[in-house]
Symmetry: C2
Subunit: 430 residues, 2 copies
């Protein structure tokens, strides 16, 4: 008698039951259709890479979270912790086989050994889309349009995409002679929605003058409308420039496409310590802003400097599928189908098994998902199975009906019976 | 100036360029539709698991190939090396939340640090489908039907699914008093297609009598038809039993469904050292049998004995996506689309960028994939981009046309131009 091993998964890792996996697949399929409709192409990269390739020679704050080990060939390898670094490596390596501008999407799992508090997972799915090789307002706007379209396609209509410009923020800091405190300021500003204005000013006062602290607060507070907000940003950053011109262009595109209700210029959006240099975006569910941004991104001026001397400016965004799903669940918008089966052929006579499979195939030929109950059991067991899988229709077919090419169909939900019908009649009913 | 790191991937790992990833996604989408049409539901499990859970307390031949390490919490973890073991763990753990019989599919990557010769990869995709919790000829046949339907759906019509019964094979060995030499016999028989009959007999003679060696050869050679093959198997195994009855039933289902050309009873199919106990299957491309089986499986009598005392008999099969793709490529059946974009809106006037995005959206609303060239560049550059992505249509729109809601459409393939048309006319043409 062998020892039983307790079946369990690692902390921060998850199994997906069919109803959850059906939902996830449905969402990612819809997202893929949107990405493709904007001309983006899919790519894939290995889950494992050389550690040096993913982390560079040095290593920073992320490193402790990376799943890193020596493989059996003594190579120092790591599991990918995001999809951006592998993409930078990918495009540097395959530039000859590709073309610029290159628009790719990548929906895949990544791993981070993070603290698992507050619904954070160690294995989670990212949905990234980026345009690389061009620096234009058209691309900046296209990414924003995709963010909106993606979420709308998932029936999340009530969203606000907040955007700002990291270049103008940096210039504001320069104007205040705070460039060398950028990291500290970003860390504090990033907390605005959590700790509020008063505390932000208090914290800023610890690293600069009260006057500067109030100017920064003034900068990050949106005005009454786009114009007022941008004018204030321009003023505090010391005047107009290409970056403010870029924001003007973006806003004109938003107006022309009739989307001013979905977008908000919000100068408190900085994307913290990320590598962004231009436009930055975050997306909030209006009914559930507290779960944070479900789709974020921005423009970077050099994606792949670690691997190539070719300058590759780009802009992109990423949907956090797990957070979005958590949000949809909280909003009661989760769609929990236990299966995708339309009709169950009951096994009422074992001798007809071959016929049942033929019958199931005839439903499939008409575009329905059909299955044969796999063994002759009590009818209540078979009904229970249909119930477990939330199958709407069942078919009963005995020898007499089989000979005539007919069967009996039952709608379990309504209780309606349709006796001695054929496949054409059945699909009319279904 | 920072040091450039050479972009590269690990041996046995692969990047997928857009044309390959589009093809892979198209295949897996089609497979998923088939699996769903048979009532199978998707699940997912973690890539990393406790090593003890995946490998048991002991460990066998596979172990050296497993990517195993200590995580930062000193847990002994491994990357999954197949989808069967995680499924066994999964169903044991979630039996209360699920129901039996349970029909699941799982399309996902697995990792094995194998020798990378002969097109074997260390990261590859499996497409598994199993029916667990029932032992019936109906289920055995359903899996066969799915194997055939899956491959046909991928336009691989010319396949032979070879099947046999491991139970009858075992009984034949018992009859010859060779039960304790099962492993050795299986290893030899498995080589039949590679080394031929003469060498098989020679090798068998090293472990048993010449008479037995010839009897084994006789057993594994198919007869002229199903009946003759089965009769010989029954004779050499010492008579009829439940297992031969099962084969009879399966054959009746095959006949009733008019599929005798796709299935062949071939007693040399044993699935080697795998855990199968009943029906076993392998699938060969008739035009390319030498690449080996592209879809294999069988019946096992206890899936999850490592994790639960509940007996879970099952039957399933797995499509080796990478091998199948290699086969399709060799047969010239690979479909290499560089993108899925239908139409490129050329950027001929930067001031119309907002309008171009609106125009692209109007194509998307009609179900076409459309993109805006992201920057105003020379027209030949924009044409080159369309060519790189094999985009069939381009749109030119200047200020005059934009004001009238019109544009010019060009079919790059035919060279045809359609001037001053609107979106309704355009979709008629496309």
């Amino acid at each position: 008698m062998s020892l039983i091993i307790k079946p369990r998964v690692l902390k921060g890792f998850r199994d997906f039951l069919p109803e959850n996996e059906i939902e996830r697949k449905s969402l990612t399929n819809k997202l893929e259709k949107v990405f493709q409709s904007f001309g983006f192409v899919p790519i894939d990269t290995p889950v494992l890479e050389y550690t040096e390739v993913l982390l560079g020679k040095g290593g920073g704050e992320t490193d402790k979270q990376v799943y890193q080990f020596l493989d059996s060939g003594k190579r120092d390898v790591s599991m990918r912790f995001d999809l951006t670094v592998p993409f930078a490596r990918y495009i540097s390596q395959h530039l000859d086989e590709l073309y610029l501008p290159f628009k790719r999407y990548h929906i895949a799992k990544v791993w981070r050994g993070e603290n698992t508090q507050r619904g954070r997972y160690r294995e989670f799915t990212q949905c990234d889309f980026d345009i690389v090789g061009v620096d234009s307002s058209s691309s900046d706007f296209e990414i924003m349009l995709m963010m909106k379209t993606s979420l709308n396609t998932l029936d999340v209509k009530d969203v606000t995409i907040k955007f700002s410009h990291r270049g103008i923020f940096n210039r504001m800091l320069e104007t205040l002679c705070l460039k060398d405190k950028t990291v500290e300021v970003l860390r504090i500003v990033d907390k605005l929605s959590k700790i509020g204005e008063v505390q932000v000013v208090e914290m800023l006062q610890e690293i600069t003058t009260s006057e500067n602290a109030l100017k920064i607060l003034d900068f990050i507070k949106p005005g009454k409308n786009f114009r007022e907000t941008l004018d204030k940003m321009i003023f505090l950053a010391g005047g107009e420039d290409e970056d403010s011109q870029r924001l003007n262009e973006i806003y004109a595109f938003i107006i022309e496409n009739g989307m001013e209700n979905s977008f908000l210029l919000d100068p408190s959006i900085t994307r913290g310590l990320d590598y962004y240099t231009g436009l930055v975006y975050e997306t909030f569910l209006n009914e559930l802003p507290e779960i944070g941004s479900v789709c974020s991104g921005g423009r970077y001026n050099n994606l792949a400097s670690l691997y190539t001397k070719t300058e590759l400016p780009g802009v992109g965004s990423s949907i956090g599928l797990d957070r979005l799903l958590a949000g949809l669940e909280e909003l009661g918008m989760k769609n929990s189908k236990k299966s995708l089966t339309d009709v169950l052929i009951m096994q009422v006579d074992k001798d007809l098994t071959g016929h049942y499979h033929k019958l199931a195939n005839s439903f499939r030929d008409k575009g329905f998902n059909a299955e044969v109950y796999p063994i002759q059991k009590k009818i209540q067991n078979q009904f229970k199975y249909a119930e477990n899988k939330t199958i709407k229709y069942v078919v009963f077919c005995g020898k007499d009906e089989a000979e005539k090419g007919l069967f009996n169909l039952k709608n379990i939900e309504s209780g309606n019976n349709y006796d001695s019908i054929d496949i054409l009649k059945a699909i009319e009913i279904m």
